[in-house]
């Protein structure tokens, strides 16, 4: 009597091939990805047929929330191997804050109390939008508190203020400016010349606003840009085809 032997089959599946595929996919995603940037408000941009891509370096983007609050983010030269260290985003941000605070103190006579520590912290922030008068306090907060501060649309101190600052210029005549204009000038005058050229051509200034926002709200921003002679700029849009 021959015993019937039940062959035990191993249930092990060779996962090597599967692993190969997943690693390939992973590499693909890692190389192609650009991370979502953290923004205080999410806006849905209107669509257009324009096919020009948003630049990833040397651009100052102005984000306008539907409530009319204004935020700015600065990107410097991405490739620091070929350019000077001082052309990078962090340095441009530092210089911008320094110049803006100096100008603000000049025209208002108020102190901003920006320290070297503050500059360091500011250089790491992507999108900012607080009045210069509270900048020091804002930078002292931890990151989650900062995010809460700027994304709370009911907070009167969120967003860059655009109310007039009247001051006497060198000749003793009265002039009007505002913090938004101070910021844009400070960014323009940073040591990154490529950013300046891009801003001159209009590629370096990108206005991003929601599709349903009132024209009145955005007109305020555009008007300010016109006043400081930055009348060439680009607006961010989503893609659509010519037929719809």
């Amino acid at each position: 009597m021959g015993k019937v032997k039940i062959k035990r089959k191993s249930t092990l599946i060779d996962m090597t091939a599967m692993s190969d595929v997943t690693v390939l996919l992973l590499t693909f995603f890692m190389l192609t990805s650009t991370f979502l940037t953290k923004e205080p408000v999410t806006v849905i941009t209107p669509s257009s047929v324009s096919e020009i891509k948003v630049p990833t370096s040397n651009v100052a983007s102005i984000l306008v929330s539907p409530q009319g609050k204004v935020f700015i983010s600065i990107l410097g030269e991405a490739d620091l191997a070929t350019f000077d260290e001082s052309w990078g985003s962090e340095n441009v941000r530092k210089e911008a804050l320094q110049a803006a605070a100096k100008r603000y103190e000049e025209v208002t006579g108020k102190k901003t109390n920006i320290t070297a520590m503050d500059l360091e912290k500011f250089s790491k922030i992507g999108t900012f939008g607080v009045p210069l008068s509270v900048m020091h306090e804002f930078l002292a907060l931890d990151q989650t508190k900062q995010d809460e501060f700027v994304s709370d649309m009911t907070n009167p101190q969120a967003g860059i203020p655009m109310n007039d600052i009247v001051f006497q210029n060198g000749d003793g005549r009265e002039e009007i400016t505002n913090e938004f204009q101070i910021w844009m000038r400070a960014i323009y005058n940073s040591s990154n010349e490529n950013l300046r050229d891009a801003m001159k051509k209009g590629e370096g200034i990108a206005v991003k606003a929601d599709a349903v926002t009132n024209y009145k709200t955005i007109h305020g921003v555009l008007d300010n840009l016109q006043t400081i002679k930055m009348n060439r700029f680009s607006v961010m849009t989503a893609l659509k085809t010519e037929n719809d």
Partner: protein, 247 residues
């Protein structure tokens, strides 16, 4: 996880090399990779947004008025954009899509009221009369709404550009050559080309402004500008609404 199987068949011969087959279980590795892929897929933006270049006139506003008066009645067209909003501030929608309305008039505004009935008299030459249109794009390949009007205004240039476009589609001319020729045609002063002035009311949505600028691109119009709305424009819209009450 990793097993090393010894396969020793037969008797033990002295000095024979033991054959080892190594199995490494890759399942946890795959698990981890899948997690990472999921993370990257969720955190990335594959679609980069586009930009539309705008150049505004400088704040010294002498030029625009001059240009407006220089343009012939048949060439000038003024678009006044506005949006109907509900109580919440969202743009209303109806059967034709979002209610972004364009009031437009050709030539100079006509605001005479000789019979003093509070309404603007009919224009003698048909120019300067406000009409209303919508952004409706194409329907079955035919231009509709405001696009039709702009298309007709710029049909000479568009016909020429379409000829070039056909050549480009048939690969007879290169991409750069096509862009160059299209630009030449857009700026050809011998053709009848419109001058478009875009104005937006304070409640107009940003989308309508962008769509209007887009129509300029679609209709290959090279001469256009964004301007501020003035009293005459508002008066004309009010007059239009008085003559054409909403249902």
């Amino acid at each position: 996880m990793a097993q090393i199987e010894q396969s020793d068949k037969g008797g033990k011969k002295k000095g024979a090399q033991k054959k080892m087959s190594i199995h490494v279980d890759f399942t946890p590795m795959v698990d981890m990779n899948m997690l990472l892929i999921t993370f990257f897929m969720l955190c990335t933006t594959m679609i980069k947004s586009q930009t539309l270049n705008i150049s505004l006139p400088s704040n010294e506003k002498i030029e625009s008025e001059e240009q407006q008066s220089k343009a012939k009645n048949s060439e000038a067209i003024t678009l006044i954009l506005t949006s109907e909003r509900d109580a919440k501030g969202n743009v209303k929608e109806d059967g034709q899509g979002k209610m972004n309305i364009i009031y437009y008039y050709e030539g100079k505004p006509f605001v005479e009221d000789k019979d003093k009935d509070g309404l603007i008299d009919p224009s003698p030459d048909g120019y300067g009369v406000v009409r209303a249109e919508r952004f409706v794009g194409n329907e079955g390949g035919v231009e509709q709404g405001i696009r039709k009007i702009l298309h007709n205004k710029n049909k000479e240039a568009l016909a020429k550009i379409n000829e070039q476009k056909k050549l480009w589609r048939d690969k007879q001319i290169s991409d750069e050559e096509y862009q160059k020729r299209a630009k030449e045609i857009r700026n050809d002063s011998t053709l009848v080309r419109p001058v478009v002035i875009i104005k937006a009311t304070p409640e107009a949505s940003w989308e309508s402004v962008i769509t209007a600028l887009d129509e300029m691109q679609i209709n290959q119009i090279s001469r256009y500008q964004i301007d501020n709305i003035n009293q005459v424009d508002s008066a004309m819209i009010l007059d239009y609404l008085a003559k054409n009450p909403k249902h």
